[in-house]
């Protein structure tokens, strides 16, 4: 069975080729959509079968390399097209193909009637292909292929409405920022490969080989450099500080794209990568701290921006950035399982949220279109009270919101709480953990606040849509609603895969399935951590206490949102007028884009222009043409020695004779 793992990425690839090459001829949306969805679903089925086979193996044998063919081999460098099947990759494959299937189905409805329908599905399939390569590749290079591949698809899909400048700008921005990260990824790969080869004569970039040789790596030093490089890659792909600004802009893409790529799968690649390389990251306390701090800061920072956005998708986008921050926080404190767990639950609820928002936008757009209004269909200020028009959507949306806000019993609670607990209790960062926890907790507060702000502004209150448009608002078709329901279901129950031991024990020993399943992958890192840190023992009471705190935080956030947006909607306005500078700064995303433009983009352009006009044209060509001019001028001068007068010529000759003879006479 494992030998057939290549089928998993192959199906979407075939889907891509069919839709990409023939889609234009096929024209029929149903066929195209079906091809796309079936391709991904086939992958999902295969992934499930692989998963079944994998859990059939003893835990310590759950790591299988499947080589397809040798890709690049030059000297001691060797990279295969080969897949690694282990619990982590298997889980990722399941999440990716599962959610993708749902979103593909959703897209059939959502993208109905769009120009370039086939293109959309082709890209989407290509994305799934790349993402599967990323998570299943058994070496760094193949992972990088997927890594860049998903970046490409992200670029293509963000720029799907390419005639809109903002869309193509956003696509480009995403690609370029990702490239900055990729630069880090590449450097990390080079350093890793070179250092290990040079010092230990182990020339490999294959994960299992690397893990096997993990003990060759020292603590810190070169490992810090390597892991920081990789982490730079992760910040690019997963939209962390400082490379997060592309993600909110990426909302220019169609909503399913936002759901699939910019929430559920691609942006979590960085988290996955750190998980994959956990044995290396754990060996650099500095990097771990960096990861944790960046994650915590991003979580909080993005959450602040999320509170002031009015575009429904932008709020979700900042929420995504913030949630990704949580995942990195988890990775940074050595809670790899928790990070992956949150990755999974986040995939469910955020996909659900995005798809729900898509349904809202779709409906809004439709309604506004009917009354020929040019109001923004994504602006929450134009919404309100949609609950009664779109009850199912509301229901699913609310479920997912509760999940993300961290209300006990829903998936987000389990994963987020695990992260916060680990941030507090981790032995890695000593005194820093309180701060990390505090950041996480604040972010949780803000999350609960802005998510419910979103719900209230969108679904509750009075309907603020342009008069006459209400009657055109209606629930979405089944092809859209069913995926929402599926995702909402998982958003609600997805957390039970990884019930914390504390709660599990309470309910009669429900095991933490996820932790057991993933433990072989992180075994090396865990072992190292245990060996090298003093594991403080925290009491159950403390853990219960913190858990309670986070519940309180969530409730407080929700209540504030309720107060501000339901009970007394004037307060936010008063608040903004009281602190205009602060509001403007938050509303304008702390001016980070402008700062980047000022610090990087514009100087580069100016430098380019200077080098071109100044150096290329003026200096180099100036020298080249200058030499030519001087030579020509010299020719122009010496030709005037040729006066045409015979006696001048005779003088010259005589002069020559005299000089020659004189020289030999008097030397």
């Amino acid at each position: 069975m494992f030998d057939n793992v290549w089928l998993i990425p192959l199906f979407p690839l075939i889907g891509f080729l069919i839709n990409g090459l023939l889609g234009k001829k096929i024209k029929n949306e149903t066929i195209i959509g079906t091809i796309g969805s079936v391709a991904v679903f086939a992958s999902f089925i295969t992934a499930v079968m692989i998963f079944m086979n994998l859990i059939g193996l003893p835990a310590n044998e759950r790591s299988v390399n499947v080589k397809i063919f040798s890709w690049i081999s030059a000297g001691n460098f060797n990279a295969d097209i080969a897949f690694l099947i282990d619990p982590l990759s298997c889980l990722m494959m399941l999440v990716v193909t599962g959610i993708s299937t749902v979103i593909h189905i959703y897209s059939i409805g959502y993208m109905h009637g769009e120009e370039g329908f086939y293109r959309f599905f082709a890209y989407l399939n290509l994305f799934v292909f790349s993402m599967l390569l990323l998570v299943s590749g058994n070496n760094l290079l193949l992972m990088f292929v997927g890594w860049e591949g998903v970046g490409l698809c992200s670029y293509l899909l963000i720029g799907y409405y390419f005639h809109k400048k903002s869309a193509s700008d956003a696509g480009k921005k995403a690609f370029v920022m990702n490239r900055v990260g990729d630069f880090g990824f590449l450097l990390g790969t080079f350093t890793l490969f070179w250092w290990l080869g040079q010092t230990h004569d182990v020339w490999t970039i294959q994960f299992t080989e690397l893990a096997k040789n993990a003990d060759l790596f020292p603590t810190g030093g070169i490992v810090t450099i390597i892991t920081l490089c990789f982490f730079l890659g992760a910040t690019g792909k997963s939209a962390q500080i400082p490379l997060y600004t592309w993600l909110p802009d990426a909302m220019e893409g169609p909503t399913p794209v936002s759901a699939l790529i910019h929430a559920a799968t691609m942006v979590t690649a960085g988290v996955y990568m750190i998980g994959r390389m956990s044995f290396l990251f754990i060996r650099s306390p500095e990097t771990m701290l960096t990861v944790a701090v960046v994650g915590a800061c991003t979580a909080l920072f993005a959450a602040t921006i999320g509170t002031a956005q009015n575009d429904i998708k932008r709020v979700l986008a900042y929420s995504t950035v913030s949630q990704l921050g949580y995942m990195f926080l988890a990775m940074g404190v050595g809670a790899f399982t928790a990070g992956i767990f949150h990755l999974m639950t986040h995939a469910f609820f955020k996909a659900c949220l995005f798809l729900g928002s898509g349904a809202v936008i779709h409906s809004m757009h439709h309604a506004l279109h009917h009354v020929h209004s040019h109001d923004d269909a994504q602006d929450m200020r134009n919404m309100g009270g949609l609950k009664k028009f779109m009850p199912l959507t509301y229901l699913t949306f609310l479920t997912a919101t509760i999940a993300i806000a961290g209300i006990p019993g829903f998936s987000g609670f389990f994963s987020k709480d695990e992260i916060l607990w680990q941030a507090f209790a981790n032995p890695l960062h000593g005194s820093m953990n309180t701060v990390l926890w505090a950041f996480g907790a604040c972010a949780a507060l803000l999350t609960a606040f802005y998510m419910f702000r979103l719900v209230f502004m969108t679904f509750h209150g009075t309907c603020r849509i342009k008069a006459g448009a209400e009657k055109h608002l209606h629930e979405s078709p089944m092809v859209i609603v069913v995926p929402l329901l599926i995702l909402a279901f998982f958003a609600a129950v997805g957390g039970y895969f990884g019930v914390p031991k504390l709660i599990g024990d309470l309910f009669g020993g429900i095991p933490n399935y996820l932790e057991h399943f993933l433990s072989p992958v992180f075994a090396n890192a865990e072992a190292y951590m245990h060996a090298h840190t003093h594991h403080a023992h925290h009491s159950h009471a403390l853990e219960w206490g913190l858990m309670g705190t986070s519940v309180v935080i969530a409730v407080v956030g929700i209540s504030v949102a309720y107060m501000l947006y339901m009970v007394n909607p004037d307060i936010p306005k008063k608040f903004t007028s009281a602190f205009p500078v602060l509001h403007r700064a938050v509303y304008n995303k702390w001016y980070v884009d402008e700062i980047y433009d000022f610090v990087f983009v514009n100087p580069c352009k100016a430098l380019g222009r200077l080098l071109w006009k100044g150096f290329d044209v003026l200096v180099v060509d100036g020298i080249v043409n200058g030499v030519a001019t001087v030579v020509m001028a010299f020719g122009g001068v010496i030709r005037y020695f040729q006066t045409g007068q015979i006696y001048n010529y005779a003088w010259t000759m005589a002069f020559g004779v005299v000089v020659i003879v004189g020289y030999y006479l008097f030397k």
Binding site: V631, G635, M653
Partner: protein, 488 residues
């Protein structure tokens, strides 16, 4: 000194100067024929001259490999002389072929032209085969005086007059130096025989310290450097080349230059090899000066004949590089180069003749505009010559330069070679400029007057073949050039 007449006649072997005799006799005969046949067209003279030239050439090549002196050691038939004779005959043959159409058009179709060309050739041949200062002098003067006439041949044309007069006065002036040099060398060595001079000079304990000998040698060189147009004795070249009738310019640039090199080689390498340290310094500087002045000035010329005149100065400079090296690579390079130069330069002038109109109002580079469109074959041929002049492979010009510069490098004159190639790169500009006009610019005038007569077509074909084939299979000629310089 008792002279045994019988012995004297034994030393005279007329076979040695058979080509010269053929051409002289033919020349005189043609003078008469020209008077007695009152035909307005002189084309028959072209073919008659050509027959004579081919005959002379045939006579020359049959003697290949021999080394016979005659006239008591004042004339020699050796490979070196024969190689040069072939060059002169090629130059003369091509000149004869391209003359007819030109003189007809310019209305100076006097029959004397062909005999004078033949006499010039005889003079050049004597320079190549002369091994006595007297023979060299006689050859030189025979050549020069004929050339003065040829330069001023178009009597009605002011430019031609001026060219003749300038050439004459300056030529005679240089002859003065030459003779004074000969006199001093004679005074020091007591002989005019080249071989004997060599013997005595190499026998002298301090030849390099003998001021009179050195001055004599340098003055002697001046006379020949004037003929090859080496700076600073080059000043006459542009004016004379521009003013002289175009076929004569072509002839002048190829033949006498080669003759000058023949004499220089003979003198420097046979008579004064002992003084090499002295003259190689001088030649080094002169080579650089000549190349640079020639090329740089050519960059700024619009008149194509004048441009080629400066280019011919530059080419003399390249050849001087080979002479400075004075090894078999360099000298065989000179021989090869002179032959190639005869082909490519006369070929180029043939095209200029075809493109020119009566009175040559359109002698500028710009007048070639559009030639590539109207007469593609002519333009391609011209391009071939120009590329060869620029030293691009796979033409003879490249191989020639390769050997010249190789000679210099072999002797350690790296900088000379570098200056040479840099000059060569700069020269590309003005050759390309002609091509720029031929191909890249639209025609300003219709080329309706361009007709190619049979002799010119023949000359173009021969020139093109002579430019291209030795470029691809140079050993064909190089091996003979090698044999020719073996005795140095």
């Amino acid at each position: 000194m008792d002279i045994n007449v019988a012995q004297l006649f034994q030393t005279i072997n007329l076979n040695v100067i058979m080509p010269e005799i053929i051409l002289s006799v033919l020349g005189m005969a043609l003078l008469l024929v020209n008077v007695f046949i009152p035909s307005k067209s002189k084309t028959y003279l072209v073919w008659l001259s050509l027959i004579g030239i081919v005959l002379a050439g045939f006579t020359t090549v049959t003697g290949w490999g021999s080394n016979i002196t005659s006239f008591n050691g004042s004339v020699v038939q050796d490979n070196f002389a024969m190689f040069f004779k072939i060059i002169f005959l090629v130059a003369a043959g091509l000149a004869v072929l391209i003359s007819d159409q030109y003189v007809e058009r310019e209305e100076c179709n006097y029959g004397e032209l062909y005999p004078i060309i033949l006499f010039t050739t005889v003079g050049m041949m004597l320079m190549a085969s002369g091994t006595d200062l007297m023979t060299l002098f006689l050859g030189l003067e025979l050549m020069s005086i004929s050339l003065y006439v040829l330069a001023g041949f178009n009597r009605a044309n002011v430019k031609s007059n001026e060219a003749g007069m300038k050439y004459f006065l300056l030529g005679a002036f240089s002859t003065g130096f030459l003779l004074y040099g000969m006199a001093l060398v004679y005074g020091v060595t007591g002989t005019t025989r080249v071989a004997k001079i060599a013997e005595i000079v190499s026998g002298m304990p301090s030849a390099a310290g003998n001021t009179m000998l050195l001055i004599g040698m340098f003055l002697l060189l001046v006379g020949f450097l004037f003929k090859i147009a080496a700076a600073p004795f080059h000043m006459w070249t542009p004016d004379v080349y521009e003013g002289a009738p175009t076929p004569m310019t072509a002839f002048m640039s190829a033949g006498p230059k080669a003759a000058g090199f023949a004499a220089l080689l003979r003198l420097l390498l046979v008579a004064f090899p002992a003084l090499k340290p002295e003259w190689s310094d001088l030649l080094w500087i002169l080579a650089v000066l000549t190349m640079t002045i020639g090329n740089f000035t050519a960059l700024r010329q619009d008149n194509i004949k004048r441009m080629l005149a400066y280019s011919s100065i530059a080419h003399a400079g390249y050849a001087l590089v080979g002479l400075t090296a004075a090894n078999s690579t360099g000298t065989s390079g000179i021989l090869f180069y002179m032959l190639s130069y005869a082909f490519m330069n006369i070929g180029a002038f043939a095209v200029i003749i075809l493109v020119g109109k009566k009175g040559e109002p359109n002698g500028t580079v710009m007048d070639f505009a559009g030639l590539g469109r109207k007469h593609p074959l002519l333009a391609v041929t011209m391009s071939l010559f120009l590329f060869s002049l620029a030293g691009m492979p796979p033409t003879a010009g490249f191989i020639g330069k390769f050997y010249l510069f190789s000679g210099a490098i072999q002797e350690g004159y790296i900088w000379l070679a570098i200056i040479g190639v840099m000059n060569s790169a700069a020269s590309v500009y003005y050759y390309l400029r002609v091509m720029v006009f031929m191909y890249f610019k639209p025609a300003e005038e219709e080329f309706d007057w361009v007709t190619v007569s049979a002799p010119v077509a023949l000359s173009l074909a021969v020139s093109a073949a002579g430019t291209l084939i030795p470029g691809v299979i140079p050993s064909m000629i190089l091996q003979y050039a090698q044999q020719a310089v073996k005795f140095f």
